[in-house]
Amino acid sequence: MELMAKISFVIYALIILGGGLVAVTSQSLVRALVGLISTLLGVAGMYMLLATPFMAFMQILIYVGAVAVIVFFAVMLTRADEGGEEADPAPIRQSLGSLAAVAAVGGVLSWVLLTKPVQGLKVPVEVAVEELGKGLMESYFVAFELISVILLVAMSGAVLLAWERRVKK
């Protein structure tokens, strides 16, 4: 059973790595989007391994279902793929700068992770969905309400931004 968990962890990690590399290096934005979706599915698998099936479900519902469609609309509405804005490879100076940024952040964080390891539990805690619902309705009620306000504001703001031009015409 433990071996199965390790094997699936490695498989999900490889999916995340491969999808992420496609997402950030692909010259076609539609391919980058497909890479992003496979990364999101890999992270959903990680959530399953962490014994949080509810989070895995939400990951697929919110990210793969909603955010991926929004990104695809962004590609479609700007015809970002047609002109090939990412078609020519990035200038070498920019790539070197990006690698330096990654090395700085990743170096510091992985140094902290590897030198000061936290001995966590072997087996993840299991929480029933009822407790999550109770938490949303009792302890973290304000955060729950605030996130709905934020979503409402973002949605109406987006509609307003996209509408303005049409009224002017």
């Binding site: 950030v24 934005l29 992003l36 962004a74 539990l121 955060a143 987006a158 031009r165």
Partner: protein, 102 residues
Amino acid sequence: MSPLLLYQLVALLLLCLGIFGMTQRRSFVGMLISVELMLNGAGLSIVASSQLTEASAVLGQLGALLVMGLAAAEATLVLAIIVVVSRRFGTTKTSEVSTLKE
């Protein structure tokens, strides 16, 4: 290597990929994709830390859920901004969307 460390390393990998894409991409849509990668890493890190330590598991899962909600709101707004910018400038290249230089 404890399981917690492995999950944190995967989250760090997502963060690094996101930073790389964010600094290297030359269009807004590519940068939006990179931001989503980074936010995913944050969510995975939060859930792993709460599930594999003594910290409150409910708090961790709900926190990651709120991160997902913020990511959805952010993606919506960025979509609107991209649409407005591409109407006004006719392109979404980051190098051409600038008026201060002129």
